[in-house]
């Protein structure tokens, strides 16, 4: 925290740095990320899939020039996978070795840092600094209640308790970014510990700018056409409206195909890049592929 006031003097600086890092953002998200970094408070990012929640954490790590430590959540995630595990084979070997040498081993010898395997959460706490690591706890809604409860100590205290070693407190508390797709409601106690930001789908201009930034090979008409095409697709009655991620991969696909404009024929060939459900493809087919093409 201490070191960040120099690197992140104000919101505008953070937004500018994020832009320079390739993540074009608006002011609301800038304020939220700024506060998360400067207050040392975890932030919960929500938004529809593909709107750039994970990318925000990556960009923040780039701006801070610190490692991004990522934990993908899933049901049944346990302390052994998220926090730490003892290196049992090594412990067993050490016991045998001590036996054969006639040495005596004490508990403290076996349960020391040498035999500790740090999983993402512990690695983030142990990050030596000087700037805090960015800890991305991705899709926390995929985890289960037990895991949420397990996170509380980490989020509130920047500390975890390991029975054999005691409480480990972070020297430099990480900047914690949680993301959620809202497939289930997170526990209020978890939300209470976090700042919150809902990432809106950006407007067409910004989508075009993002495509230009992320797919530099997309020649000028293409980025704008793809952005407008995705915007028009989002107006259709789709089960899964394409997001920014789909827009980027569409532009990438067009570049790979060597198309320099998005016309009806190209849209028909590449619709599968943006629409992943057969129902949605049918809707588009009914509306005509021209609907997706960026007619100017």
């Amino acid at each position: 925290m201490s070191d960040l006031s120099g690197r992140l003097p104000d919101v505008a600086a953070l937004v500018a740095e994020l832009n320079a890092a390739g993540y074009l953002t608006d002011q609301p998200l800038g304020v939220a990320l700024f506060l998360a970094a400067r207050m040392g408070q975890p932030i919960l990012l929500e938004g529809e899939p593909g709107v750039g929640k994970t990318e925000a954490a990556k960009a923040l790590a780039t701006v801070l020039d610190t490692p991004l430590i990522r934990l993908q959540c899933y049901e049944g995630l346990t302390a052994a996978e998220a926090l730490y595990e003892w290196n049992y084979p090594r412990q067993l070997l050490a016991i045998r070795l001590a036996e054969s040498r006639g040495e005596t081993l004490r508990d403290a010898d076996l349960f020391s840092a040498d035999y500790l395997l740090a999983r993402p959460l512990l690695a983030a706490l142990d990050h030596p600094g000087p700037r805090p690591a960015v800890l991305l706890i991705d899709e926390v809604d995929r985890g289960d209640d037990e895991f949420e409860a397990f996170l509380f100590e980490l989020l509130a205290e920047s500390a975890v308790t390991i029975p054999e070693l005691g409480t480990r407190r972070a020297a430099v508390p990480p900047v914690v970014v949680l993301t959620s797709n809202r497939t289930r409601d997170l526990h209020d106690a978890l939300k209470r510990r976090c700042l919150y930001h809902w990432i809106e789908y950006p407007d067409t201009e910004r989508v075009a700018a993002i495509i230009r930034r992320r797919v530099p090979a997309a020649a000028e008409p293409l980025a704008g056409q793809v952005a407008r095409g995705v915007a028009r697709l989002r107006d259709l009655d789709l089960a899964k409206p394409p997001g920014v991620a789909e827009a980027i991969s569409w532009a990438r696909a067009l570049v790979v195909l060597g198309a320099d404009r998005l016309d009806e024929a190209v849209a028909a060939q590449t619709a599968g890049v943006v629409l992943k459900y057969s129902e949605d493809l049918q809707v588009l087919r009914a509306a005509g592929f021209a609907a997706a093409a960026g007619d100017d």
């Binding site: 506060l35 919960l44 508990d107 289960d144 930001h197 809902w198």
Partner: protein, 487 residues
């Protein structure tokens, strides 16, 4: 609301402002606890907002915890500070769309409050399981524990008085138990809460990815093994094992609250309150649009929760657009994760004012992710019922079971259908998906919910009736494992 501060100037006492804003937000329904107020007060000096809008963004990041709260924060903020920004001055008015406001009709409050009262006045026995809920006591023999308090009086005498009161009461409750929910007065419905308490909404289990120590597990638990090995000089003599935990599947209840379905919706909410296992259900209501009730139902006294639920369901007693509501469910929460592997109960008469094609498509989508779909349609209690209504006909092929559950007696069918494992969807797999071969042939889609049906009753024509025919072949008995007042 009267205090206004102009322009960029942030008044000196930030703590006071933060507390004031927090209080206003709490009044508006945003959970702005002191921790969040403090956070806001810490955020402002850090972000040094130069404009009203930036101050608003600070409030948004620190106070809101869901997209639905954004508008409320915006409204409260501009009420307090006289606007959010220079860019959209008109935005702060009361025309904001998703504000929690008074429901258009008072009815839901009353109905829900009544259901809550019923749940409270017929409290669960203090030690469930010890009083033999399933021991073939006569209906309504009551829970011994409810002598406490004044609430347990009229409908259910406590165990001491039961000797004399029981016959009369039992017959009354028995009569009520077979009465259609639509014909019950609210007070009578409340009397049935005791019976509903004896039901268990058990859903099939699924294998969770979480593990627990188990002697017969497949995976070796190295951590535990090594811990034990320390006692035996480092020799792992005993292998500790772990096995996956079994968890109940998610139960999702989608409740039609349009006019004709209102008595059944009320009964179903009461059931969810009373029956064991009902509290874990995710509850949605729909008529013209979908409303999630779960947040309102969980973690607070039933009375209060149901009042909030009434506010949360503004389209109570409106028209019905089942297909559109299901689509909303599929798009927003169902397909992304909630409905995957879940047991889904849809309570509706199937009278859809929308296009049947929409409902068919959405049922198809839902059936691809859900474990089972049970459609509760009170109209199927009638012998004459045919699924001819566009909506019901469209939805039928994708249901694993269709039943009436129109009275307390018939609820046993529901609990049995919930507990039944596996899927029974003969047509949704093969080619008939596009054109279900009924309802013309559905001559015997009769639901006679009495439990004394002969087994032959299920000998129906091929097609629709097999929904029940296959899995209810032995008659309409409740599963043996099922705890209930079945006789």
């Amino acid at each position: 609301m009267t205090e206004r501060t102009n322009g960029d100037r942030v008044p000196a006492d930030l703590a006071l402002i933060a507390a004031r804003l927090g209080a206003e937000l709490r009044d508006a329904g945003v959970p702005a606890d002191p921790g969040r107020c403090e956070r806001f007060a810490r955020a402002v000096p850090l972000a040094r907002p130069a404009t009203q809008y930036e101050l608003y963004l600070c409030a948004l990041a620190t106070f809101a915890s869901g997209p639905e709260q954004t508008e409320t924060v915006r409204r409260v903020f501009s009420d307090l500070f006289g606007g959010v920004d220079g860019r959209a001055p008109g935005q702060s008015g009361p025309e904001a769309p998703d504000l929690p406001g008074p429901p258009p009709r008072p009815a839901p409050d009353d109905l829900l409050a009544e259901a809550a009262r019923a749940a409270q006045e017929h409290p669960a026995p203090p030690a469930p399981g010890t009083d033999g809920a399933g021991d073939a006591e006569s209906l309504g023999a009551g829970s011994p524990g409810d002598a406490l308090g004044d609430a347990a009086d009229a409908a259910e005498p406590d165990a001491d008085q039961a000797e004399t009161a029981r016959p009369a009461l039992a017959s009354r409750v028995e009569r009520l138990a077979v009465t259609d929910f639509a014909e019950l007065t609210p007070a009578e419905l409340q009397d049935l809460a005791g019976l509903m308490r004896e039901l268990t909404l058990a859903v099939p289990l699924r294998r969770s990815r979480r593990e627990h120590p188990s002697a017969r597990g497949r995976r070796t638990d190295l951590r535990s093994t090594l811990r034990h090995a320390r006692r035996t000089g480092g020799h792992p003599l005993r292998l500790a094992r772990r096995a996956p935990t079994l968890r109940p599947r998610q139960l999702i209840v989608l409740c039609d609250i349009s006019g004709s379905m209102e008595p059944y919706a009320r009964a179903m909410l009461q059931l969810l309150y009373c029956a064991a296992g009902g509290a874990e259900a995710e509850v949605f209501t729909f008529a013209t649009r979908l409303t999630r009730l779960t947040g309102a139902l969980a973690h607070m006294p039933p009375e209060q929760a149901l009042r909030r639920a009434g506010q949360a369901a503004p389209d109570w007693l409106g028209g019905t657009r089942i297909g559109a509501s299901l689509k909303e469910f599929n798009d927003t929460v169902g397909r992304p994760g909630l409905a995957r592997g879940a047991v889904i109960v849809i309570i509706s008469d199937g009278w859809d004012t929308g296009e049947p094609a929409v409902l068919r498509r959405e049922m198809q989508r839902l059936s691809r992710v859900a474990h089972r779909i049970i459609w509760v349609n009170p109209r199927t209690k009638s012998e004459q019922y045919r699924p001819l209504a566009g909506g019901m006909a469209a939805a039928w092929p994708y249901c694993d079971a269709v039943l009436s559950a129109h009275s307390v007696d018939a609820l046993h069918e529901l609990t049995a259908a919930l507990a039944r494992p596996g899927r029974h969807r003969p047509w949704s797999r093969d080619g008939a998906r596009g054109h279900p071969a009924f309802p013309a042939a559905a001559g015997a889609s009769v639901r006679q919910p009495g439990r004394d049906e002969p087994a032959g009753h299920v000998s129906r024509q091929a097609g629709v009736a097999r929904i029940h025919g296959e899995d209810r072949g032995a008659g309409a008995q409740v599963d043996p494992g099922q705890v209930g007042p079945d006789q």
